[in-house]
Amino acid sequence: MENEKVTVNINGCNYEVGAGLNVLEACRSVGVEVPFFCYHPKLKVAGSCRMCLVTIGTPARDRATGELLKKEDGSPEISWMPKPAIACGTKVSQNMHVVTDSEFIKSCRESVLEFLLLNHPLDCPICDKAGECKLQEYANTFGRGESRYIENKNVKPKKVMVAGKIMMDSQRCIECSRCIRFCREFIGRSTFSFTKRGSKTEISVYPNSDNDSNYLLNVVDGCPVGALTEKAFRFKMRTWFLKVTDSICGESSAGINVRVWSRNGKIYRITPRRNDAVNDMWMTDSGRYIHYRFEAKNRMSVARIDSSPCDLGYAAERCLEILKLGKVAIVANAWQSVEEMFLMKRLADACGAKIYMISHVGADDGKLLSADRTPNMRGAFLTGLLDSYPPKDFKGLGAAIDAGEVGTVLCFREDLKDFGLEQKQLKAANIIYCGALENNISASAKICIPLRTEFEKNGSWVNRQFRIQKFNMAVQAPENTFADIDFLSFLLSELEGSHFDAPSAEDVRAEMAKSIVAMKDAVHIPASGLPLDSSQFASVDFPEEDAMHYSRQKK
């Protein structure tokens, strides 16, 4: 069924389109634009905005015999529907004829836009949606330019706060009902609803509803106009000034595909990116604010030795010296990219170190916030850092220090103190802390190496579905920080004696493809990610529960 095709004639040309598509998607798949407001690929069809009207015809049949009628020249006779039909709510069928470019359809679109604009406040100059607003775009493309309306506009409530994070403006609302449908269908609980009737219809929120859902902000992305805007982004930046970078959300192993919107090195917002195999078009609200973790005040901005700032290169040299002394333990973490993990494994082999990792587990919401709150635990398995799911704390490392087996801990990102290492154990070993943020142990570590955040580098993570996905550098890293790969390859080239000169993530993946079977195709990763073979990890007890596009492997 999925790959079945039907022939549809669109504006006089025949196209092969997927059977089972609606006319709107079918047109889109062959590059014919049909404008729409209320349609949303992931929600039920409402069919209420009437923007997508098209003329539809089907092959005519003889009433008596049921046979297809033919014109004189042998082409099939088409019976055209007397009224225009909504493209979003009509499924394609064999030999269907669709007209989207007639004068009549043009007038349909023009009139719908005119109707929508009658009561629209036209406050684009102060609306956050401006620049990415469907109404604005279509009014420009399909509208009639000037209004014939001289009556007063309706007045409806503006500036209504919803759940403390959304600003609702009913006057801008075009009553597309996407927000209502999203809450009903995805969250499973009604938050928004219409009140009143006719032109007075208002989008409103149920009074006292417990709208504490972690997915509510998706209605902001879904709202075709500026009726629902995000409080955190309100009046912060005009959208057209922002640079967009494709990335992956590091909040959990769900691996939500996101876009990072930034300007001059500052991230302004994070929004979901469509991936029908992972997150459809949604993301968590908490994931949108994850970049707040890396605010300047939390950053480790300069390399330090024994708490005094020093040159980055010098700190790295000292690091090397200490590692050469032996008795090293390496603390890795699952925020590191697959590429970094691969180098880490080689580093561990080169200095005979044991690798310690811990798990970060939280409640699984069965949707897009999975139990494993790290983005790349599967990557640690694939690169050989792990062979069983890691414990919750560093007690094992503590015991090794107590036993005198470990003299140096090369720690990436993790806060050893919070996760089970005692003060005297921390004292007993040389701690080299590498990370982007200050934490409990960075203050007392012997050497501190400032690294970059996931927004400042390229790399890839493997999510709970064993799908490898690429994240890209969104903002420039501050000066005096090391890219993790650079730092690791510097250590490696000294310890291994191999020549490994500041490779890119891609170079590392090419290297990896040679030595790790499951990764053999993962050099160039497509935008939608690449599922990897996970059969060898079938016995690992991963904590995630069944969720959207993920089902726990049966043991």
Binding site: R50, L53, F115, R197, G198
Partner: protein
């Protein structure tokens, strides 16, 4: 043709010593058809219905037998029957009398229809304002249940069916069948898109559902008794049976008249039965089928084909009273509510009144109807208040054209037709009013508005 009534559905309405009790109904042979019906095979009953060519009396005039045939019987889901008693079309109040005076006829009709389509449950969706009607129906159903005409093992057969009465949410779209179903299932009365929500396939609770008007259902026992064939010969074969014409407005004797289709003309109805216009006045226009249908000028002439295929010219008053003839004249009988206007009526005010109704009743779901009804209403109101512009006439027409045929439900069309027809048939009156008001200016505007209703 002499104008005379043929009372079949209305046989008990206003009759001497009649009341709504079950004893009265039984004494007139009531429920005997039901007890025979539940012993007949269902296929036969549905076939009778198809043969009868009975058209729905709710407004759309869709053949009832066809509607039943389309019910999705293979899905394995329960089938529901919904009686549409939400009568709220302006100018229409034929169902009300049946509910108030002859509820058992409706119940018998519902049970016969339920049996024929094998419904698991029947509903009556009654207009919210008919509070007494609701009580009368509840009472009647209780009476009927006691006598085993409703509920378990009806009339000793193995068929069981309950009737639930639901009061409407007080709004016109609740009468639109899919809006009614949304409302009945607890949502806002938003009409649904077809496809996929054809009631016969995805109706109430997404189960196959037949929605029928009160009067349509009252016909069901009659047809089962006399047979589809016999019924189809009654009156005009394209629209057999009788229609209950609710005449309102400026005539001597407004009221409800049940007339066999095609048995008399519009003029005969209005002059002979309704006594003609009020003293000293002339008829100016009629809306034939509830406010949503296109208006007819009394002095209009139409060229229609008659039975033998000959082209002939008819005046408005010569139009025979059946669905087909009105269709040929570019309008429709809708719910048979005739609204009569005479020479004292200001057409602009009349339209303003209607437009205000539609602006108030549009459910607000789809763009053209939501904004269009409001816009038209504001324009006509403005003209009435004395601020009209000559370009408003063309604008009104254009707004109505932009709504027509582009909405989810027929309310959008029903709201556009009055404006379209009114503006094009009485254009001069609009211009005249606008010019006159312009001339008299401010004080006249004030005077003009001091007595206005809306």
């Amino acid at each position: 043709m002499a104008a005379k009534e043929t009372r079949i559905i209305y046989r008990h309405i206003g009759a001497d010593a009649w009341n709504a009790s079950i004893d009265k109904y039984l004494s007139d042979g009531g429920y005997s058809i039901l007890s025979e019906t539940v012993r007949r095979p269902r296929e036969e009953l549905c076939a009778e219905m198809e043969k009868s060519k009975l058209r729905g009396r709710g407004g759309a005039g869709f053949p009832c037998g066809m509607k039943w045939k389309f019910l999705d019987r293979k899905s394995g889901k329960p089938i529901y029957l919904v009686c549409n008693a939400d009568e709220s079309e302006p100018g229409t109040c034929k169902d009300r009398l049946l509910i108030y005076q002859d509820p058992h006829q409706i119940i018998e009709g519902i049970m016969c229809a339920s049996y024929a389509i094998n419904a698991a449950q029947a509903f009556i969706y009654i207009r919210g304002e008919y509070i007494n009607g609701y009580r009368i129906l509840m009472n009647a159903i209780e009476e009927a249940r006691k006598k085993n005409f409703v509920g378990k093992n009806i009339c000793g057969s193995d068929y069981s069916c309950e009737i639930t009465v639901t009061r409407g949410a007080g709004c016109y779209v609740c009468g639109e069948e899919t809006g009614l179903l949304s409302s009945l299932s607890g949502d806002r009365a938003y009409p649904r898109i077809k496809p996929p929500y054809f009631p016969a396939v995805m109706g109430l609770y997404d189960c196959p559902t037949a929605v029928n008007n009160v009067e349509t259902l009252c016909w069901v026992p009659q047809i089962f008794k006399m047979g589809g064939e016999a019924f189809s010969k009654m009156g005009n074969p394209l629209d057999p049976g009788t229609h209950i014409w609710g005449v309102s407005g400026l005539v001597q004797k407004p009221g409800r008249y049940e007339i066999e289709t095609g048995a008399c003309t519009l003029g005969e109805l209005l002059y002979d039965l309704c006594g003609g216009p009020l003293a000293g006045r002339r008829f100016k226009a009629v809306i034939p089928g509830g406010s949503s249908m296109k208006i007819l000028r009394w002095d209009e002439k139409f060229s229609i084909k008659d039975k033998d295929g000959a082209q002939k010219e008819v005046r408005t008053e010569d139009i025979p009273l059946d669905a087909d003839s009105f269709m040929k004249c570019g309008t429709a009988i809708g719910s048979c509510g005739i609204i009569v206007m005479d020479n004292t009526v200001d057409m602009v005010e009349a339209l303003a009144n209607l437009n205000q109704f539609y602006a108030h009743e549009s459910c607000g779901q789809c763009t053209p109807c939501r904004e269009g009804t409001m816009w038209m209403s504001r324009i006509t109101k403005r003209i009435c208040e004395g601020w009209g512009r000559e370009e408003d006439v063309a604008l009104l027409k254009s707004v109505a054209d932009n709504m027509c045929g582009r909405t989810i439900c027929a309310l959008g069309e029903g709201a556009a037709w009055p404006t379209q027809s009114n503006v094009s048939k009485f254009k001069e009156e609009y211009y005249e009013k606008i010019r006159r008001q312009k001339k008299v200016g401010g004080q006249a505007r004030l005077d003009n508005n001091s007595y206005r209703l809306i």
